[in-house]
């Protein structure tokens, strides 16, 4: 049975937002992605097309977030200031954004597909099988893509931090 809209938003909204937030690290961008995802969700909801909302929403959230991340590839500064959060001191925010910012920038250098698989595996902690199912691909292909993504990311990030 289709969930009503309220239940859909309240049940999966936090997951969608969190997925977008992890990829983007910016509240406004994450909000934007959530709205994009639910705009799309509503269309599917109306047509009663989705069997597994959690999987569908998570996948679309990660892809939309990566889209947005890639859009800011050419001009996003490394030290983009994060919004202060209610539950984190600014000191902590500023320290952690250095490394996390590097990773986000490096993710922009991957193909969209590899970046999405990496995020689903390490941010969303999905198994290979779950990723394969969500993306309609072979499990082996997931492993290969992850392998490539890890290697590329390690390469992209290592020089920066050796200087420290």
């Amino acid at each position: 049975m289709e969930p009503n809209w309220y239940v859909l938003v309240r049940t999966w909204g936090p997951m969608v937002y969190t997925a977008a937030w992890r990829v983007l690290g910016n509240a406004a961008d994450a909000e934007d992605v959530v709205q994009d995802v639910f705009t799309e969700a509503l269309r599917h909801w109306k047509l009663n097309k989705v069997n597994n909302w959690a999987s569908w929403l998570r996948r679309v959230a990660v892809y939309r977030a990566i889209d947005r991340l890639r859009q800011r590839r050419s001009h996003a500064p490394l030290d983009t200031i994060l919004e202060p959060s209610h539950s984190q001191t600014p000191d902590a925010v500023l320290e952690s954004k250095e490394l996390s910012g590097q990773l986000r920038e490096s993710l922009q250098q991957l193909s969209e597909h590899e970046a999405a698989i990496f995020c689903l595996r390490y941010f969303e902690e999905l198994s290979y099988d779950e990723i394969a199912k969500a993306l309609n691909m072979e499990t082996a292909a997931v492993g290969m893509a992850l392998h490539r993504a890890r290697a590329r990311l390690a390469e992209l990030m290592e020089p920066i931090w050796k200087e420290v």
Binding site: W5, D36, H86, Y122
Partner: protein, 535 residues
């Protein structure tokens, strides 16, 4: 490693592992999450299909379709138009009916009774513009809500009704463009024939300027050449973002002698549950005062310093313009003991810190820096009100952006969300706990499902210009550890007498605000560009 084997250790190492761990440990900004969920939950049908930046149009779709329809009439300075006006005069009710993918939808207007009403598959409403009351029926809950009309309700219905009234009075011109910032780009009329009957069709195209991308809208009004009465209007919307999409709504028009006098006349069962959400006078007064203090707060240059050692943000405010900058790097500075003028001391220290603009509002549009450029904040509704940045939009703009995290007048004056269908409100004149001399205003979402609750408590000090001394937000339940809270520990008054927080404790640490009300605040600070700092 075998990439097929899910049990294989594909754990990350080194820097990559640390970076992933940092990202996974970064707490999700609860306020932003809450905001977006509230927003999504309230998307009305069928408007939910549109993006945020299109909502302004679509939120108006059913009503605005009618409004546009009237504009089409009124924008037509021709003999044909004059004849149409004459034909419509004397009609007490206009009814527009739509059958199709989004429907059925029926709209009612009566200038004489100052009523606008709508029945649709997801909602029924009856707006009594004379009494400023909106009745909404939620079919899922089988409940009728009595609500205060919002400014949007008021603007839309009043505009539609005044247009209607002007038609009745035979006026030829109407002031204002209700589709702003959409511009009229083309108009034409033609004679058409269908099934042997001749009709006159008026067509008008609107498009949004580049600065505020949006749909292009075409309205077609079909007039019966015999009676000179409009018999239908069609709204065609061409969306280009996120994908090309054409939506068409065709309404058939007639003019019944009688119409709905209350929401029950629209088919709502009188046995439906009835909930009154009109806030009591004291709540209304409080909300009004809070909004007013935000709006009229004195001009200032300010600093937000965490724990009196880290300059984190600096802010400039002048009327409804503001600029927010964040410090580029973590900088720790210890405030010397016994300072007589800490504000001056911190302002001097701030000159040694590198700042980066985070948000600029020029009084018309809110901008966010995007690398070298400042772009209108697409996330913010103000982007679509580039020609009329009115009070309410300014206040909303403050609520949505960075301002809510760093500006003392926003932190000191959080606006209670009252008057909404899902929100109940309660006032406790003498709360059991909390700052002295305050009363407590409590709002909570009543649509609790799956254990979800959303609670806000405001401890308001009426003797200090309704400053909210303590503010608590319960995210998903009311357990203390799940509450976000802020409490004002020290406060002061602006030169014009509005109280504001100087020291605020809360879940995000201790915030110290240093405001200079005498600072020179040039207008160029509020232009969307980086600030030039003289070395």
């Amino acid at each position: 490693m075998n990439p097929v084997d899910n049990t294989v250790d594909d754990a990350l190492t080194g820097t990559l592992r640390q970076a992933v761990a940092q990202i996974n440990e970064q707490p999700v900004p609860k306020a932003a999450l809450r905001h977006v969920l509230d927003h999504l939950e309230n998307w009305p049908e069928p408007l939910r299909l549109q993006q945020q930046r299109h909502r302004r149009f679509w939120a108006a779709s059913t009503l605005a379709a009618s409004i546009v329809f009237f504009i089409v009439w009124l924008a037509w300075p021709s003999d044909s138009w004059a004849q149409v006006v004459k034909a419509v005069q004397g009609k007490t009710w206009i009814r527009a009916q739509y059958e199709g993918e989004w429907g059925p939808i029926t709209l009612w207007f009566s200038a004489e009774r100052k009523v606008a009403a709508n029945t649709g598959p997801h909602q029924v409403f009856f707006h009594d513009a004379r009494l400023h009351v909106m009745y909404r029926y939620d079919p899922t809950e089988k409940t009728v809500y009595r609500l205060p009309e919002t400014e949007r309700d008021q603007a839309m219905t009043t505009a539609a009704l005044s247009l209607f009234a002007d038609i009745m009075q035979g006026k030829e011109k109407i002031q204002g463009n209700l589709m702003s910032p959409a511009k009229l780009t083309r108009q034409s009329h033609r004679e058409v024939e269908e099934n042997g009957t001749k009709y006159l069709e008026f067509e008008m195209e609107h498009a949004y300027p580049n600065a505020a991308p949006g749909p292009s809208i075409t309205n077609v009004v079909r007039v019966d050449t015999q009676t000179r009465l409009p018999i239908s209007f069609t709204v065609k919307v061409l969306m280009t973002q996120p994908a090309v999409q054409v939506t068409e709504l065709r309404f058939a028009i007639d003019y019944p002698a009688t119409g709905p006098l209350d929401i029950y006349d629209l088919g709502v069962a009188r046995t439906s549950k009835y909930v009154d959400r009109i806030p009591p006078d004291d709540v209304e007064r409080t909300v009004h005062a809070i909004k007013l203090n935000r709006e009229t707060f004195d001009s200032y240059h300010g600093l937000l310093v965490y724990s009196n050692q880290q300059p984190f943000a600096q802010m400039w405010r002048k009327s409804m313009k503001w600029r927010i900058e964040y410090s580029k790097k973590a900088t720790l500075l210890a405030q010397p003991v016994g300072l007589t003028d800490p504000t001056s001391w911190w302002m001097d220290q701030a000159k040694t810190v590198t700042w980066r603009a985070s948000e600029v509002c020029d009084g018309t549009t809110i901008y966010k820096p995007d690398g070298k450029n400042f772009l209108p904040d697409e996330q913010n509704i103000n982007n679509y009100v580039t020609q009329s940045f009115d009070r309410d939009f300014g206040l909303i703009g403050m609520e949505r952006g960075d301002a809510r995290h760093v500006m003392p007048e926003i932190i000191g004056y959080p606006i209670p969300q009252v008057g909404f269908q899902q929100v109940s409100v309660e006032v406790k004149p003498t709360p059991e706990k909390g700052p002295v001399d305050t009363f407590q205003l409590l709002t909570h979402f009543t649509t609790q499902r799956q254990g979800i609750a959303h609670l806000q408590r405001f401890w308001v000090d009426p003797s200090r210009s309704y400053l909210v001394m303590r503010h608590e937000i319960g995210e998903w339940d009311t357990r203390p550890e799940h509450l976000d809270w802020r409490q004002i520990e020290r406060m002061n008054r602006t030169p014009s007498g509005i109280w504001y927080p100087q020291v605020v404790k809360g879940t995000s640490g201790t915030m110290h605000f240093y405001l200079d009300f005498k600072a020179e605040i040039p207008d160029e600070l509020f232009t969307p560009k980086e600030r030039v700092v003289k070395k």
